[in-house]
């Protein structure tokens, strides 16, 4: 769907007209990301991050396919084949660093994209399905990133696989058989490495497919905007092309500059030196940490230290960690406020920033060594994370007095009432 005033695809060249009759792919592109897709005129740079996430996925798929040409998924040689890529393969170091740091860039961009959605209420009706599909993509990304991190078969790879598949052993009764089924053994070994490689290659394409659904679902109501006010007429929109192709192009340039700085000047800044030690099943690194993008969830996992209500601490930790993400599926129905944008929600706006700070704290605590202080702080921060969604959001949607909304996007942009729609 699109707005009725969307520009119509009218190919002029006979070849394009012929193609339009047989396979209207150019028409699809024109209506999806071309001049045929009207978009609110007031989107700010935070709306770049969806396209940037797509670009990051593209970079990961491209570099990943190349790496797979040089990598060997066998426990005996996997570590050496990665060193082979780094030292011997022409430009191998560049492609591998691009893939490793590309994953970090992908997560940075997606986290900003998610918090953009939280701030501007993009998860609310009529865009719930867009949000749900987004959470699915996020889960798939985490699975893909985890399995990718196992492939170099260094110490962090091995022990990360051990710890993360250990989550499943927390499930009562069937936990251990499930873990053995996932790993194909008693501990991570060649079988696990092989299947992780197979799935790590598959899942990005599944992500790409879900992204198609995500965009499809988005294009039915159309994009949200910083005011959260619905589009009311043609004066509120501009065509996606050239307006937002240009704006996204600008954002993409900045993204690539930041990516290049990371890639060329600090390629190991976000990695862990222990992963340059070959996997050793007999020795755990003194301090296991996951990749930075999992740290907030890892902190929630670690914050449970005692049995509670007859349920083991281990199971609580795992349930809380998965729950912290699964909770997002219910967000469109937890937040009852009809106002989307935080710019008009004086109370929510504060709690939004407290949540950002809370997640950053959890991230810090996730990589900190386990001391009583760290455990206590993790418990407070994890407790706050859940209260934000389960207590604070339902409460403030009851008591908050929203600020007056602009009558239309155009009014918000121009500061005066819009002329009557044509």
């Amino acid at each position: 769907m699109s707005f009725p005033w969307a520009e119509h695809y009218a190919p002029k060249h006979p070849l394009m007209r012929y193609l339009d009759e047989k396979l209207p792919l150019p028409r699809l592109v024109y209506n999806a990301v071309g001049a045929g897709y009207p978009v609110p005129r007031n989107l700010n740079y935070f709306w770049n991050f969806g396209v940037l996430a797509g670009a990051a996925l593209g970079i990961q798929i491209l570099t990943g396919i190349i790496l797979a040409m040089h990598y060997a998924a066998n426990g005996l040689v996997a570590f050496d084949s990665v060193e082979h890529i780094m030292r011997d393969v022409n430009s191998g170091w560049l492609i591998r660093y691009a893939h490793a740091n590309g994953a970090s860039m992908f997560f940075i961009v997606v986290y900003i994209h998610i918090f953009r959605g939280l701030y501007y209420g993009s998860y609310k009706a009529p865009r719930e399905m867009v949000w749900l599909l987004g959470v699915v993509i996020f889960l798939l990304m985490m699975a893909t990133a985890f399995m990718g991190y196992v492939l170099p078969w260094g110490q962090m790879s091995f022990w990360g696989a051990q710890v993360i598949t250990g989550f499943f052993s927390a499930i009562p009764v069937v936990g251990d058989p499930i873990r053995m089924w996932l790993l194909g053994g008693f501990a991570p070994d060649n079988d696990a490495l092989n299947r992780f490689f197979s799935l790590h290659y598959l899942l990005p394409f599944v992500i790409a497919a879900v992204i198609v659904l995500h965009i499809w679902a988005l294009h039915i109501p159309g994009s949200n905007n910083p005011t959260g006010v619905e589009v009311k007429g043609p004066q509120d929109t501009v065509p996606f092309h050239p307006y937002y192709t240009a704006k996204d192009g600008m954002g993409l340039g900045v993204f690539l500059i930041v990516f290049s700085l990371l890639l060329f000047f600090a390629p190991n800044a976000l990695g862990h030196p222990d992963n340059y030690i070959p996997a050793n099943p007999l020795s755990t690194p003194a301090h296991i940490v996951p990749e930075w993008y999992f740290l907030p969830f890892y902190a929630i996992l670690k914050s449970f230290t005692g049995n509670f209500l007859g349920i083991a601490a281990k199971l609580w930790g795992v349930m809380a960690m998965f729950g912290s993400i699964l909770l997002l599926f219910f967000l469109p129905w937890i937040d009852r406020s009809p106002i989307r944008s935080s710019n008009y929600r004086p109370m929510y706006k504060w709690f939004f920033w407290v949540l950002v700070a809370d997640v950053l704290c959890l991230g810090y605590l996730g990589q900190a060594e386990v001391t009583p202080t760290v455990v206590l702080l993790s418990q407070i921060c994890a407790g706050y994370y859940f209260s934000h969604f389960l207590i604070i959001l339902p409460m403030i949607s009851k008591f908050e007095k929203p600020l007056p909304l602009p009558n239309s996007i155009t009014e918000a942009v121009l500061g005066e009432p819009a002329p009557a729609a044509a």
């Binding site: 022990w159 052993s169 194909g184 501990a187 755990t284 281990k314 199971l315």
Partner: protein
């Protein structure tokens, strides 16, 4: 999309013979055929899924319970060694008399996973504490098999991943792990030789 005149089109399928609904005459033969065909395809589909799921389980060579023999004659009291069994590390530790009495002094009821030291060792060899070196929380290898490593506040083992602490009987005393370190199947072949598995 315009509807084309197809009356004279030789590619057109002939109309289905007989009425679509035999009104009031109960199920048709076609209903039976539909249900039978779909049900049979469903059974076949499930049958195909079984091997596709089962291939993920540990393969025969992994399941082959290789047993290993360990010479414990060189292990001094208070120290221990780590050996690999079924690709997993196992702690073989020679407890000192102090460590044994410490483990025995703990009231069993106060434990998270109540077990006595005697139940976790072999009669006549109670100074030999043989356990999996796999933390029951998330599978890390705890520290403490040699005296120079961090043994935690209960003198047994300390898991560096999430801070679980085990006592000198390998029992969970603090931290997130739910169970004691697992005691594998083993037996003493002689005074100084242990067969694990």
């Amino acid at each position: 999309m315009a509807t084309l005149e197809t009356a004279d089109d030789p590619n057109q399928r002939p109309a289905v013979i007989g009425p679509d609904h035999d009104e009031g005459q109960g199920p048709r033969r076609r209903d039976f055929l539909n249900i039978a065909a779909v049900a049979f395809a469903g059974v076949g589909g499930v049958a195909v899924v079984i091997p596709l799921v089962n291939q993920m389980n540990p393969s025969a060579d992994v399941m082959a319970l290789a047993s290993i023999e360990v010479d414990v004659s060189k292990i001094e009291a208070g120290s221990g060694i780590k050996v690999a069994w079924r690709k997993q590390p196992v702690f073989v530790r020679n407890l000192t008399p102090t460590e044994i009495s410490e483990a025995k002094a703990v009231p069993v009821d106060s434990l998270r996973d109540p077990e006595t030291l005697d139940a976790r060792t072999k009669p006549g060899h109670e100074n030999w504490l043989i356990t999996m070196a796999v933390c029951t929380h998330l599978g890390c290898v705890p520290l403490g098999i040699t005296p120079s490593e961090n043994r935690g506040q209960f003198g047994g083992y300390f898991c560096p991943c999430h801070g679980s602490q085990y006592d000198t009987a390998g029992r969970i005393r603090a931290g997130p792990a739910p169970k004691n370190l697992v005691v594998p199947e083993y037996s003493f072949k002689s005074a100084t030789t242990v067969q694990i598995g």
